[in-house]
């Protein structure tokens, strides 16, 4: 099978087209949006990165990750700490520590001074925590609601911990007032545009990674673990290992989202990492369609956008709206809006004579699952 025919296979062609379209839209946005709107979109893209990871862990792997705020927060705070230290200059002390703290940089901040080690830590700390936690939880066969509650409790604990550490993490105020991002002045609109492009690129890469994982043997195994964990075990696999990989990948994606969110939003505080934002991440994924490739991204961006516009008009209305939306989707469209599109397509296919194949049927709301192998 040559590359050309591979590209023309229906599943792949559609995905590539969608991917190309998304890339084009993202690249064109800076030309049509005002700097303010572009900044907003960049923020949404960062939140969508968390959603992409949740799509993998929850949509394909069935892990109800209700505490992704922790990993988003870890990435965000690690980045914020680095930016603070960089702003303070070599050997300098971040401004808020002079105000509220001892005026000395705590030892555990020091590794974040160097840009390289900051980036490495942003990737490794969340991955390590997720792997450790995942291993402890999954080998004890904690699943379903128990896992969800546990991850949520972790998010709550993380937020409380941050609030309590006024001198070293900025407490409720969080960390803010960053002046530069790896040497680039954050007040310069051109640099803001660059940040947007970095976020867009990172998001596209993540979508591509999830797509590759989904069509790979690992993706098939992940679905198998989701649906019949014991059966997988009796085939000689350790389902815990499979879940840990999915969970850790989701954690890293959330962390990168958090890390890029910080220079774009200019602030990170405990309000961005606790229980409420953790649930918020999930809602976008549920609405978009957790088991599809682009559903989580589009759902997450749509929810962020709705949140911004609704909060602009009714400052306290959003939380009710969000709750109602969540209930509606779970009750009437458990596959998310993406499944709605799938239903329409099937209806059209059914209308066309001689086209309703048996094979498409169980694939139903999980478009990516039975990717046909090359015959």
């Amino acid at each position: 099978m040559n590359v050309f025919t591979a590209l023309l296979r229906p599943g792949r062609a559609r995905t590539l087209a969608a991917f190309g379209l998304a890339a084009a839209v993202l690249l064109l946005a800076p030309m049509v949006l005002s700097p303010f709107r572009l900044d907003l979109l960049a923020k949404f893209l960062c939140l969508a990165m968390v959603a992409v990871g949740i799509g993998l862990a929850w949509g394909r792997g069935g892990l109800l990750t209700l505490g992704q705020g922790v990993y988003f927060g870890l990435g965000a705070y690690l980045m914020a700490m680095h930016l603070k230290l960089a702003d303070a200059g070599p050997g300098g002390v971040p401004d808020f520590m002079l105000l509220y703290g001892t005026g000395q940089v705590p030892g555990w901040w020091e590794p974040l001074r160097s840009p390289v080690s900051a980036i490495v830590l942003i990737l490794l700390v969340p991955a390590g925590l997720a792997a450790l936690l995942g291993w402890a939880v999954f080998t004890r066969r904690v699943r379903g609601a128990y896992f969800a509650i546990l991850s949520q409790a972790l998010a709550a604990a993380f937020a409380i911990l941050l609030i309590g550490q006024q001198q070293t993490t900025g407490g409720t105020n969080g960390l803010n007032g960053f002046r530069a991002f790896f040497g680039y002045d954050l007040a310069d609109p051109l640099n803001k545009q660059m940040l947007y492009l970095i976020a867009a690129g990172a998001l596209l890469v993540m979508v591509a990674v999830v797509r590759q994982l989904s069509v790979s043997r690992f993706g098939e195994l992940l679905v198998a673990v989701r649906d019949q964990e014991d059966r997988v075990r009796f085939l000689g696999y350790d389902p815990a290992a499979v879940k840990v990989v999915a969970y850790a990948v989701a954690a890293v994606m959330a962390a990168v989202g958090g890390a890029l969110f910080v220079p774009i939003a200019g602030i990170v505080s405990p309000a961005d990492v606790g229980v409420v934002p953790s649930i918020g991440f999930l809602i976008g994924v549920a609405i978009g369609g957790r088991a599809t490739l682009l559903g989580p991204v589009l759902g997450s961006i749509a929810v962020s956008w709705a949140q911004t516009s609704i909060s602009e008009q009714f400052p306290s209305g959003w939380i009710y709206f969000q709750g109602a939306l969540f209930i509606l989707v779970i009750a009437f469209l458990p596959g998310g809006l993406a499944s709605f599109a799938g239903k329409l397509r099937r209806r059209r296919a059914a209308a066309a004579p001689g086209d309703a194949g048996a094979s498409g049927d169980a694939a139903r709301d999980h478009e990516l699952v039975p990717e046909r192998s090359p015959a």
Binding site: R217, E220, D227, F234, Y237, A358
Partner: protein
């Protein structure tokens, strides 16, 4: 939905023993004589003893049937051997002690099982089901790639269980009997050397039973196979030997004839003294047990 597909649109499926031959023949140690040895097995659930003092030896080439009334402990015995429930005593296979190992390690030691209710990955295709079953020994990094072509063993297994034409169909839409065949196919590609099958022909048509029985006999000649089954006609046609369990213990063991004429077995199954056994049996004491 599933039944509709199977009877109308799907081609007739059939077991292919020649393909099974090729599959079983790929085994390098084909003349190794494995055996399952269970000694003093005991399983307790919160004070209730579901299996006690069970000794059992099954060798390669001896298609063993495990029978007994509902609740006799047959499934629990399989659960204990495969690490699903905690047990005391000893279970060894090919000089490997299995008790105390985790389930997936036991599976890697060459032990495979099926479940009382067919459990395949319904959203994955037949091919994907078999490919996963074949892959536990793959290196982690190869898992990150898409499957390029069908592994040889998977191809043979598809032929063996007659599902070649249905390879790209989600397993969820298969007919009941086809699912059970798929499970047997998965055991074959998994390269299990000890196969524990929990009611593999339940719900199958007579023709399907015959084919399954022939396949199991074929497998049994080169693997250690234990079949839990309630259907006595099936047992009479295909069993080499029979172990009868009752209330967690082994009640009798021997050839079909020996066991059928064992007074203790007759009493358990008929709830009456052995005197009645010669004539046509009265209604069985258990819902499914229909021995002599």
């Amino acid at each position: 939905m599933s039944d509709m597909f199977s009877t109308q649109e799907q081609p007739q499926t059939e077991i292919d023993l020649a393909a099974a031959e090729a599959l079983l023949g790929t085994d390098a140690d084909r003349f190794r004589h494995d055996y399952l040895e269970v000694r003093g097995l005991r399983v307790e659930f919160d004070g209730f003893v579901a299996v006690r003092d069970v000794d059992l030896t099954v060798t390669q080439g001896d298609l063993r049937f495990l029978v007994g009334p509902n609740g006799a402990g047959k499934t629990t015995l399989i659960d204990a051997v495969t690490g699903l429930v905690r047990a005391t005593g000893s279970v060894s296979f090919g000089r490997t002690e299995l008790l105390g190992r985790s389930t997936h390690r036991i599976a890697r030691a060459g032990v495979g099982r099926t479940f009382q209710t067919a459990s395949v990955f319904e959203e994955l295709t037949v091919l994907q089901n078999l490919d996963i079953a074949a892959g536990a020994r793959r290196r982690p990094l190869t898992l990150l790639r898409r499957r390029q072509d069908t592994p040889e063993a998977v191809e043979r297994a598809l032929e063996t269980v007659g599902l070649t034409a249905l390879r790209d169909v989600p397993a969820g839409v298969l007919a009941h009997g086809q699912k059970q065949w798929l499970e047997i196919g998965m055991l074959l590609v998994q390269d299990a050397h000890l196969l524990l099958l929990d009611e593999p022909v339940a719900g199958m048509t007579q023709a399907e039973r015959e084919e399954t029985g022939a396949l199991l006999r074929r497998i049994g000649s080169q693997r250690v196979v234990v079949v839990v089954e309630h259907d006595m006609e099936f047992l009479r046609s295909f069993a080499d030997s029979v172990t009868v369990m009752h209330q967690g213990r082994v009640l009798a063991e021997g050839t079909v004839n020996e066991v059928q004429n064992d007074p203790a077995v007759v009493e358990v199954y008929l709830g009456a003294p052995a005197a009645e056994s010669g004539a046509a049996p009265a209604k069985p004491a258990t819902t499914e047990g229909d021995l002599p």
